[in-house]
């Protein structure tokens, strides 16, 4: 192993994080290289010095502040939540459906007093079909049609004769 390759192995060696085979390789090099051996010793000393720095403790209010911020986070709703049944919406939809069914199935009210005004239509006309009924009323009561002159009775030869006489 060269000194330059030792550079990447030096700290893992100091940490004791090398595989057994790599560790043996490093030790063989160190036995023959006083410069690398010195550096390994110094790295160990540096590592020991870094251990001397005390740890700090988070302030007493730290947890409370994190919890407060978490509590203030908006509740995240998934896109699919739009389709999730809401009790109020379900009730409103049910009521609307029931009302529609009720109105649709209700029989047409007939007022007894006005029975004489109820029109009577031929059997092939649906009394509930308003456009057809309108057309029927117009045609049934279309006066110009009733005022048409009666067709003239007689034959053509009389007319010819009359003209000739004139």
């Amino acid at each position: 192993m060269s000194c330059s390759r030792m550079e990447k192995q030096m700290l893992p060696y100091v940490d004791g994080r090398l595989k057994v085979s790599e560790q043996r390789e490093v030790e063989v090099h160190l036995a023959a290289c006083p410069a690398c051996q010195l550096r390994v010793n110094e790295f160990r000393a540096v590592s020991g010095l870094l251990d001397e720095l005390p740890q700090i403790e988070p302030s007493g209010a730290f947890d409370a502040r994190v919890r407060a911020r978490v509590a203030a986070e908006p509740v995240k709703q998934s896109w699919w939540a739009v389709f999730a049944p809401s009790p109020r919406a379900a009730l409103a939809a049910s009521m609307l459906l029931l009302a529609t069914i009720w109105i649709g199935s209700r029989p047409t009210p007939t007022t007894p007093g006005n029975s004489q005004n109820v029109a009577v239509y031929p059997g092939n006309i649906d009394p509930n079909d308003l456009p057809v009924l309108e057309n029927y009323d117009i045609l049934a009561n279309f006066e110009p049609l009733t005022d048409l002159p009666q067709p003239v009775q007689g034959d053509d030869s009389d007319e010819v004769d009359g003209n000739q006489a004139m």
Binding site: D15, E42, E52
Partner: protein, 196 residues
């Protein structure tokens, strides 16, 4: 048996707020310490640590245990710290011109050296304080990425693969980065290293 970080996070995803409280309890101190060493300001470190936890909480719905939880957690923390350092670089340069001579800032208060201290072993105390200040100063002087690598390696005891993922580099590049950092520390701390 204690639940793993991943299991806790999956429980948070399922809506268990108590599991989030356990993660908070487990990582509040490591995170605050890491961030404090990175940004060198206790208040700012706590703000950033809060932000890390909030981001974890916000991401709970999309959480997939594809990597170790600590890798994800410290990746968020490192990115926040590096961004914060970048954003406040100009401000810190201005402040450093007026900074007082300090012994140690472990408690977050930049305490000036107090020669009138009535400590019985005042000399010993001052030596220890100076020693800590020197170590802290040496870490602070490291370039930001090297500093993050040293802190994650030394204090969080993460393995090389995890740290490489956090810092978005190869494992080989990380080992070079750490070697350069330790070389700088070896030089900066030479008086203490020689004394052993």
């Amino acid at each position: 048996m204690a639940r793993s970080d991943v299991q806790l996070m999956l429980d948070v995803k399922a809506g268990d707020e108590q599991s989030f409280a356990l993660l908070l309890q487990r990582y509040r101190s490591p995170l605050v310490n890491f961030l404090y060493r990175m940004v060198r300001n206790r208040e700012q470190a706590e703000d950033l640590a809060q932000e890390v936890f909030i981001r974890v909480y916000r991401a709970r719905a999309d959480y997939v245990p594809s990597a170790k939880f600590t890798t994800w957690l410290f990746r968020i923390a490192t990115n926040l710290a590096l961004n914060s350092l970048r954003d406040t670089r100009h401000q810190r340069m201005e402040l450093s011109l007026d900074a007082p001579v300090t012994a140690d800032a472990e408690d977050g208060d930049e305490r000036a050296l107090d020669v009138a201290d009535k400590h019985p072993d005042i000399e010993q105390h001052l030596v220890e304080e100076a020693r800590k200040a020197m170590i802290k100063h040496a870490i602070d002087k490291l370039p930001e990425k090297q500093r993050a690598a040293v802190l994650l390696h030394k204090y969080q005891e993460l393995d090389y693969g995890e740290i490489a993922k956090i810092l978005s580099c190869s494992e080989s590049a990380l080992k070079s980065l750490l070697f350069r950092a330790y070389e700088t520390l070896r030089v900066e701390l030479a008086p203490l290293v020689a004394r052993g």
